[in-house]
Symmetry: C2
Subunit: 208 residues, 2 copies
């Protein structure tokens, strides 16, 4: 049997379309409390959260993000440009208004490992929201300046991501994922995990 | 009642001292499978994992890390230096040999949001290991060059963290953490979550 965490991780998928049904803010708060328990560089806890439920604020955040996306999409090319086109993504971000709640996540720029710590904490949030049956995604605005001005973000903080949160009505399947065999090695780089390793019993701490 | 994920997040603490008892590699593999299910920039899945069980490799990794730490600790100062001193931390990293398993985590440097994606995945790993009753920590070598040379890391990958994994015999309590009230705002930066917000019922998607 899978572990519960693995089961949540497998179920979770990116949600870009949300129902207008209201959600229980307590579930969002529980997910952020899980984030607050994460480790961080020198325990600096360099995360800050702005929970947005006010439709006027959501609208302003959406507009600021979309202005940045228009500038970004007018220039994007290469592999990323191809991927975005193939996925049907463009500058429009209606989920920023459609989701009943937005969670903006910031890092304190001078803290050690600030970005790493904030994103590790986001890893906790996603699983906690999945457990609550709520959909979300980690939206990273391509250009953040206008957003941070709109919300009067003080100096010393960086916008890492915006998580729209709500009941999913997104019917797109989960993106396919590499198996561990494709991304994990055993003891030496390039030495792939094989069935023996996957099924083997225990490994002990042996004197070398 | 807390959610299960929140409960795991609360229980989890940094483990620096490990029992020599063997562990079931399948639990480590399940935790990495949870990581593989995480979202990533343009679904690039820019994470790679090197599971180390061979004592000779662990010893070489430890030595390479400690050489870097000696250089780092000879120069560190400021707030971080004070914090390290107060916590009794120094260049010695015995857990890199004492833990029965090490998991080295890498990001693919050219992938979009590579660091962010790898650390979000680490957030999944920590909760999955906690569920299995295994201790770990996110050790970030201060200087990675000698480590990456030792393991013949190809160009294009960056060492993000080393997770020693095993049965905890670390009796230090969990570091104190900020409550959500200290790090979360509602609708406007600086507008702290109050008891009303924490206990309030639902928020709906209203037309603005």
């Amino acid at each position: 049997m899978d572990s519960y965490v693995l089961d949540l991780a497998k179920r979770r998928k990116t949600t870009r379309r949300f129902s207008s049904r209201p959600i229980d803010l307590k579930q969002v708060i529980a997910a952020l409390e899980a984030a607050c328990q994460a480790p961080s560089g020198a325990n600096s806890q360099p995360w800050r959260f702005l929970i947005v439920t006010d439709p006027k604020v959501k609208k302003r955040v959406r507009e600021a993000c979309e202005n940045g996306e228009k500038a970004f999409y007018s220039k994007v090319k290469g592999e990323l440009g191809k991927w975005l086109l193939a996925k049907g993504l463009n500058w429009q971000k209606p989920f920023l208004e459609e989701a009943p709640v937005l969670v903006l996540i910031f890092s304190e720029t001078k803290a050690p490992y600030a970005i790493q710590s904030a994103w590790l904490a986001i890893g906790h949030i996603l699983l906690a929201l999945e457990e609550s049956g709520l959909g979300t995604m980690t939206y990273t605005p391509s250009i953040t300046r206008e957003v941070t001005e709109e919300i009067d973000l003080p100096k010393g903080f960086r916008l890492e991501a915006i998580l729209p949160v709500g009941i999913s009505v997104d019917e797109k399947p989960k993106e396919p994922k590499f198996g561990l065999r494709q991304v994990a090695y055993l003891n030496f780089w390039g030495h792939r995990l094989d069935a023996t390793a996957l099924l083997s019993g225990t490994v002990s701490r042996q004197p070398s």
